[in-house]
Amino acid sequence: MSGGKLYGLMAEFENPNDLVAAAREAHEAGYVKLDAYTPYPIEALTEALDIHDRKLPALVLFGGILGGLCGYALCYWTSVVAYPLNIGGKPFHSAPAFIVPTFETTILFAAFAAVLGMLGLNGLPMPYHPVFNTPRFALASRDRFFLCIEARDPKFDHDETWAFLTKLGPRVVMDVEE
């Protein structure tokens, strides 16, 4: 794990409040390529890091509409166009009956859009990530809170950023190698 390129600098905090405060300061200091790592979702971080992503709801809406259209189209095409059959004297286009499959495909497509969209936008699956190179990072899924400023941030400078992070009162600041 040694000798690699530097990915960034990581600061470890003991409680969420410190992290949120640190994240806000880092953001306000002009760092853009930075991320916080927490064992549970903290809403305040979103605002502190100014994360705005509205893509997912739009994707889900699209998925739902597509699902609904596909579902109804399937029912309509098979029952009216492909092989119209007199079934119990019901009209070929039995709209009320078609609503049920349509509803279900709507939900199904939307749910797939939500899950796949979330994974895709998050870039998952990503079993390898530089942050895992830091041994202490295992605690990010337990009880520690991390703030990482990436080396590709235009404002990044190893020593300067190190000093900046140290100033935020972390438990420890670490190098993260690629």
């Binding site: 059959l85 007199n86 079934i87 119990g88 004297g89 019901k90 009209p91 070929f92």
Partner: protein, 987 residues
Amino acid sequence: MVTAKDLSLARLAREPEYWRSLEELLETDDFRQHLHREFRVPIESGVNRRELLALAGASMALAGLTGCTRQPTERIYPYVRPPEEVVPGEPLLYATAHVHGGYARGILAESHEGRPTKIEGNSLHPASLGGTDVFAQAFVLDLYDPDRSQTLTERGEIRPWSALLAAVKLALEKERPTRGAGLRFLTTAVTSPTLSAQIAGILQAFPEAKWVAWEPAGRDNVYEGARLAFGEAVEPRYAYGRADVILSLEADFLGGGPAQPRSVRDFASRRRAQDTNRLYVAESTPSLTGARADHRRPMAPRQIEAFAQAVATAVGAIPSGSGPADPFAAAVAKDLLEHRGSGLVVAGESQPPAVHALAHAINQALGNAGKTVVYSEPVLAGPANQAAALAQLARDMREGRVSTLTILGGNPVFTAPADLKFAEAMEKVPLRLHLSLYDDETSRLCHWHAAQAHPLEAWSDARAYDGTATILQPLILPLYGGKSDHELLAAFSEQPEKTGHDIVKDYWRGKLAGADFEGAWRKALHDGVVEATALPTRAVSVKSSPLSAFDSEPHSGDSANLTVLFRPDPTVWDGSYANNGWLQELPKPLTKLTWDNAALISPSTAEELGVVNEDVVDLLLAGRRVTAPVWVMPGQAAGCVTLHFGYGRSRGGRIANGKGFDAYALRGTDGLWARAGLEIRKTGGHRQLVTTQHHHSMEGRNLVRSATAEDYRRDPGIVQKMGEAPPGPADTLYPRLPTGSYAWGLSIDLAACVGCNACVLACQAENNIPIVGKNEVSRGRAMHWIRIDRYYAGELENPETFHQPVTCMHCENAPCETVCPVAATVHSAEGLNQMVYNRCVGTRYCSNNCPYKVRRFNFFLYSDFKTEITKMVRNPEVTVRSRGVMEKCSYCVQRINRARITAEKENRPIRDGEIVTACQQACPAQAIVFGNIGDPESAVAKARAEKRQYGLLAELGTRPRTTYLGSISNPNPALPAAARREEGHGA
């Protein structure tokens, strides 16, 4: 047993005058136990090797190979030299006859590439007029019965036919010095002119030889009765269609008799709304005739006799003097008197000669003779009193006077009266020969057993009830090399090797009308009747002397004593059809029992004895004993126990053996039809009896609608008013879907239907419907596509009985179709509710959603795919269904398609009446009409236009294509009407 407390639930159902049969649906503990027994969990265990292989195959299939439906390679074997008339795939019809109890009923046998597959009625034949009974429909199955005897054996060793001929020759040599004194021939009832001529020839050569005929359900009483009345044995011939008032003294002419299809046809022609006849029935045990009666009285046998006397006295046929006047008898007599010349009194075969004589006397006194009844020479050949002749034979055998006994057909060891100890007597005969379809109880005790040719395999002839002869022609060579009666008898003649064809043809040579014998012969074969062979009618007159001496002892109800009645079974008859799966599984018309017989006991007697359904009892009569399960029979005369003989076979074949109990074991010559002195002892045992119908009340639902002729005349709309009006054609939000050129529909006239079951079997034969066996029927899995529902109403001891054939209704708004997930059941443009077996995955949702419960499911692999020979009976036009698919009535779509293709090739529309469904074809009552309801001129459209037309459960909005015509009754206003009719049933 049923107590008043138990009735509480019945009351909840709102309709106090309807009762739920017996304790069954009164929810007593007995009933629950009964249910638990009936529906006990069957545990199939044991896997044999073949099944294991099948399992292995199934798992392979499950492993995902099923998507590819790669078909195995099939082969084609064309003819080497094609027969002239056979076009592969096109069936041919041959006219012949089905002989039942000796009497012929004309049939047309359908042959597919040489395989007889289906029997239809011959409309040119007087006893059929196109209809058939159940036996004619079913007997084609016997042809392919793998259990049939397949060899000629001498003491169990297989021998060639020539060996038998040699043995006969040797025996005849021995007989010659005594002029045949030791020679005996035992046949069943014979009407065959050829056979009787053959026997006559033998008797001429051996004057001391004797011919004995034995039919377990024979007509001795008819002939003896005539002898009593007229001094000679004559054959009465009834014209039911001409009678306005009919009194049946236990004459079940709708359920049996020498010309049952014809009687039903004639009777039903007078049951429709106009010109309705009136039927009175006095009987001891419920029959189909009783079920159709306008007034029915259950009576013990002695009471019937008294009743007949009372009527005879009242109409002045015999001098007065008998007991107190019964108001019923008085009313019947009055009605008969009012219809002089158009009344009819018929006595049943089970009635003693005296009752027959009384009936003849009444008919004569009222001027009915010559109008509704005519007389001719007896149709049956051979000795007039069969029972006496058989008893004499038994005596002769026991006393060593018989040296050679030749038995042609029949199964006397099984069927002879028990007191004759026929088997024991027979063993004294040095040479015994038996020709029969099965290696049966009699064959086992004979030295020689020869396989008999099935009637569809051999040449023969037979007479109908009026004497009309039919030449029976074979459709197929004997499958098992069997010989006909004629061929065996030829062995006793000068020409022992003569073929059946030559024997029959030579007999008729010179007897056919016209100079051109070959032409006349071909015409007789083609038509299925030999012209001008009906026996001429004869004028006979009642002699007063025997009747005035009529014994008129008082008939007090000696209820301490039970009377046992012996009757042939409604489905296996005298036992000769016992190995026929179709008949075994056919629900008996009244009890709806299958696969079994039972001791039928009236409800009150059952209560006295403390027995319920399925209790096993010992029946003791004159030192003889039989063990039987009890079935409580509504409408049974109190104190009478009916036993149906024909069951309890031990060597009848795999289907017959072990089913039911042998009632012959109790039947003696001292009371072939009825005998008092029966004793019943409870054994504490149970025997499962299986029915296809468990509930017998209509629950106040207007399922079978019935009106009196009087009410119907007053208000023709009465039938339709009995139920909620169904939605009209315009009462729908749905758009009209495209409809075809025809709109198929079926109409069933409940006024005509007598519930004879012929349609059920015709459908089974036509549509390759499998049998499932007793166990599966007990689990509610019978497969019949058309079933006959039987309901009771009124009092328990004498209920009114209703029959209702139920087919698929082919609903225009079919509830079954909507719910099928794979569109395996959909509607055709012509209104057929199509069931596509190959698409069906078997969710059974359609069956659940069918209000008529006419859908049938293959819970297991019911169709026999293994036995090659039984496959031959199948109709190649109908798919054989496999395991896991639903099936149901298709309106005989194969017949529709055949007619359509024929019509289209001829560039014309399908004619009305061109398509005849199997049920319609078989129906002797012509109650079923099929056709295009869109054509107002069609028979079915006319039937539907009648005011008594209604749809079953039509208020559900199903728009059924099968509709019913309400039943019409014609009660005598002078007699108290049954409660139900007053209510306008179900309104």
